[in-house]
Symmetry: C2
């Protein structure tokens, strides 16, 4: 190209007319054939060439991508033959002991596979009970080699719970939301035990595990621990409503599979020619109890699948006779969100003809209907009945049996739904530095009174049994540190001091302090039982445990290490403090966001949907699930949801 261009330029230069670089306009006026050829080259040949090159590059890029995929794939197939495996005989026939004389698994069968495994098996044993946000949060923050790590959980996967409503209707596939625990523990060369923690023996540091075998029998054994993290989550609360066995729940993979099958079965049954009009309406009536994020998203997803797929592939009559109901006990749905957002969601649901019943109390559930009561303006109660083909119970949390068992063994554990922990996530009353609890099964202590005498001892410098303002400043500093949840109530210290100094003697005596502490305690709102809290607590604890592991070696021999070789949590870490990153919810082709303040919160259409997705996408536990969820969303866009029932 260069050569020919230059040649032509030479020829042009030889022409009698003086040549100068010209603009497009002047050359467009020229009529010489040579100039025409230039124009042709410039506006046709060259763009065509670039286009061809561009397309070629795209094709090349795609081809290269495919070749790389194939090349990588080809490398993943290999035979393998294992000759000898080093196994400690004790791991195959564990000694028995403990209160119930069960096998104690001191050694695992892969503890001596190689030098690295052996080295790690000598480390303190950290046992994580649970596969949810808390447990995984801990696991992900640990460094390789910090501990001998063991995860105990009946399910051998972790589950991305926020997308369960999507999975229950097939917007995403459930396999896209699970990550095998064995892959996650492999990073720290940890162990996984398939079983449920049934009991704990804190004096001997043993977890009693019950594991169901394929034939249905149950193995019982002890797993010893140096440190244990309890992250088993919570159960659903029944609120004493009878008949809940007719309702679905939405917590596990099994729940998702059952719900998806049930929806499809109902649709197929509704389409049968022998189904009566009333029965069809009942089969197509979807009732959701609970107006929190899970219930709302489930209602929205069910509405989506019915709206987008049923109209297309089932008789239109079905689409017409479908009804979705949300039964909420409060004034608003999404009542933990700002009012603006609740109202937006209610309007959106009204537009979609989703029936929202507010201030309703479910009195009982029967096989094919839900009965609830409403208060009339006069204060009388009226009973209402919704025939239902599908009922979901997603309201309130109850205590997990294992967490209950832990509480029973400890004094001062009087909370009805969770284990009380201090702000370092240490279980209150348990041997120091050995038992932690996080997530839905834990609640951070907010009873300041317990710390009163300690603090007076610490801060009452002149030992007069009273606290003057200077001493109170120190005290409130310590209080804020120890009870991060109380921070917002300890802002204007001077004012507080004056307010509680009833006799205005410029000092607070014990009685005045007690009334101050107890009033602040009553104002503290516990952290909500959300994935976000559990995840932050898990990450906090994981980081701290990692710090403790290195401090243990670093501080060995100093007086910061106690006789058992343990470092106190408070040496390496500040108390846990929750940072609310906002709440969000999908409400049917749109989403709402509550970022804590009215200015930041918003609700909207498709763009919100994509924002909602991108937040959940970035929160995925692995790149694998990230890719799979993306594929699922694209799949839904192109082909819709899979209507197969199984």
């Amino acid at each position: 190209m260069f050569t020919r261009n230059s040649y032509r330029a030479v020829a042009r230069a030889a022409r009698p007319v003086a040549y100068k670089p010209s603009s497009i306009t002047t050359r467009l006026q020229s009529t010489a054939p040579k100039e025409n050829e230039q124009l042709w080259k410039r506006f046709v040949v060259k763009p065509a060439k670039y286009t061809a090159f561009g397309c070629g590059s795209i094709v090349f890029g795609i081809s290269a991508f495919i070749v790389i995929i194939f090349a990588h794939d080809a490398m993943t197939y290999k035979g393998s033959h294992i000759d000898r495996v080093n196994v400690n005989p004790l791991s195959l026939a564990p000694q028995t002991g403990g209160k119930k004389n069960l096998p104690i698994t001191n050694v695992f069968m892969d503890d001596e596979e190689d030098p690295e495994a052996k080295a790690i098996s000598q480390k303190p044993h950290l046992v994580i009970i649970g596969n949810g946000w808390g447990g995984i949060g801990v696991l992900k923050e640990l460094e390789h080699g910090d501990y001998k790590v063991t995860v105990i959980s009946p399910a051998n996967h972790t589950l991305f719970t926020p997308l369960l409503p999507s999975a229950a209707v097939g917007t995403v596939e459930i396999r896209s939301l699970v990550e095998p625990l064995r892959k996650l523990v492999a990073r720290v060369r940890g162990h996984y035990i398939s079983g449920a923690a049934a009991d704990i023996d804190m004096s001997n540091r043993l977890i009693e595990v019950h594991s169901k075998r394929p034939d249905g029998s149950v193995d019982q054994f002890y797993v010893p621990y140096d440190k244990v993290v309890i992250a088993v989550g919570a159960n659903t609360a029944s609120h004493g409503v009878p008949g809940l066995e007719h309702c679905y729940q939405l917590k596990t993979v099994g729940d998702v599979l059952r719900i998806r099958r049930s929806i499809m079965q109902n649709l197929e049954a509704a389409a049968l020619p022998t189904t009566s009009v009333e029965e069809r309406k009942r089969l197509l009536s979807f009732v959701i109890c609970g107006g929190g994020p899970t219930g709302i998203e489930m209602a929205a997803e069910i509405f989506d699948v019915l709206n987008e797929e049923v109209g297309k592939y089932f008789p239109k009559l079905l689409r017409k006779e479908i009804s979705v109901h949300v039964i909420q006990s409060r004034d608003h749905i999404l009542n933990t969100y700002s009012e603006k957002i609740s109202e937006y969601a209610e309007k959106k649901f009204a537009k979609d003809e989703i029936n929202v019943v507010l201030n309703a109390r479910v009195s009982r559930v029967e096989k094919d209907k839900m009965i609830y009561t409403l208060k009339t303006e006069k204060g009388d109660k009226t009973e209402h009945v919704i025939p239902a083909g599908f009922m979901l119970w997603s309201t309130g949390l109850g205590m997990n049996p294992f967490a209950k068992r832990v509480c029973e063994q400890l004094p001062n554990q009087f909370h009805s739904k969770a284990i009380i922990v201090d702000s370092h996530m240490r279980v209150k009353g348990a041997p120091s530095g050995t038992v932690y609890a996080i997530g839905d099964n834990a609640t951070v202590d907010n009873n300041l009174l317990d710390a009163l005498l300690d603090l007076v001892d610490d801060c009452d410098k002149d030992h007069d049994g009273k606290v003057d303002f200077e001493e109170f400043e120190l005290m409130s500093q310590k209080l804020r540190q120890r009870f991060p949840l109380a921070k917002s109530h300890l802002q204007k210290i001077r004012k507080i001091f004056q307010h509680y100094d009833k006799d205005q003697d410029n000092v607070l005596d014990l009685n005045e302090l007690a009334s101050l502490f107890s009033e602040i305690s009553s104002k503290i709102v516990s952290l909500p039982a959300t994935a976000q809290v559990a995840s932050q607590e898990g990450k906090y604890l994981g980081k701290k445990l990692s710090k403790l592991a290195s401090a243990r070696e670093r501080l060995a021999g100093t007086d910061l290490v106690n006789q058992a070789g343990d470092v106190d949590d408070e040496v390496v870490s500040v108390p846990f403090s929750y940072r609310h990153l906002g709440s969000l919810a999908y409400i049917g082709n749109s989403a709402v966001f509550d970022f804590g303040s009215p200015e930041l919160s918003f609700a909207g259409g498709l763009i919100s949907l994509y924002l909602w997705r991108s937040i959940y996408w970035s929160e995925q536990v692995s790149n694998r699930t990230r890719a799979l969820v993306m594929v699922d969303w694209i799949k839904r866009g192109i082909w819709g949801r899979d209507l197969s029932k199984f």
Copy 2:
């Protein structure tokens, strides 16, 4: 670029040295700074520019793709409100009738939704029973508007059966192998009924359907038909072996889910510290009965997952103690393939340490073991026991109950495993042109004797009750047409004629013909019960039914149409003739292909694996499943299989 280039060329032309277009070499020798700049431009700037442009194009291509995906996705979200749906009241309250006085569904609730639906509902009613290769083959070949089409099947999806072994271990996901029937029938605006055909009333042309409701009760009703295609497939044969309830089968989605769960449960139980050595070996012993393609592929897939994933994420001891066994009753595995291929497969399995037991007969199955007998060289039988944690039964086919019910109602239906059809796939003995059967539940009649008298009547031109050679030529032509399976046995007619002309009087009398017909009959090998046969039969029938639909209108009023308005199949179509396209099987990171002749058949490593995949890939029922299966394969390559048990 043009301007500056030309300018420089002008300057160059002004130099005293005569300028001519030069090659790279001459210019490389030049040392003038201008020339250096040219070289710089040519070898650095220009390539850089092209590279940048190329990369830009790739980025642009990908971005454009993503934008298109998003734009398309955004268009798929829309609200919908349905005002009025036209419904024939008869569809909501069907009249009862038939032998059992059940509801008869003459009209469906979507028959009068719009003018198009109404027009189609007036067409002859074609009922397809079954969701397998045969039924889907028919469905896919029908033209829109040929018939009012109804598909009856308990499962509301079709399933790509050849990849079931892959799905059972998670190499592909089961959701990638299913396509909803409602999407397939939507193309011809057909109907789907969730239920199983239980009986047929051929005189009143009614199918009795039993449909299970979500609450477990069973609805019974009649579906009337003008034409019915029976494609329900076959059941697994028990061969009278007791204890088969302890074995898994591999036919449905449910089977796949159960097998996958079972494999993972066994692995997790084997990894428990309380599992004894014997119990662990038993849990890790996978026994497959049947050395056909399904059994072999299942063994290979199980070996793959154990080899590729278990070694990585479970204690190495497990990998070492795993055993896979194939119990085959014949001399070789894959005994329907060429010997070369069987031997290759056996060698590959020996290398992978898969235990192949040949000439073995399973005598009984117990909860945790399989007992089989082998004949010693002396002819004595010895009994052997394999402890097993997983047992698959994949050998032989038995008759489906509905197919049995059809046979019971007809004379001449004496086959033990399938419905006998003529070469037009019409059920023998059923009212002409109304009942067809295809796939595993059908076998093409190969009893030439039935046709003897007809053919003699037709071909005996001189009515002497005997057939001379000229007449025999015509007869064999008709025979070949009517019994395509007999083709290969009717090649050298002169020789056959002479061979059976025992008295050498140059004519064949009835006795001689009978012995000829019966000997050929005995030589005919029935078509195997494979997906390929079922699919070809289905497509053949679908095309023919389509032709019949148009012939019906075209030939209306001519004597080719009978009183009922039906056209005979033989007017529009030749008999079904099977074209074997080859058999293939995956045997663990390699595959074998049998294309009918030894030269074409081959077996090999990774390349074969990709060929095997590409054949199955192209056979997928929809682009959706095609894309999903591809994603699954890539996923396995990058992240391995999902080990979650549920």
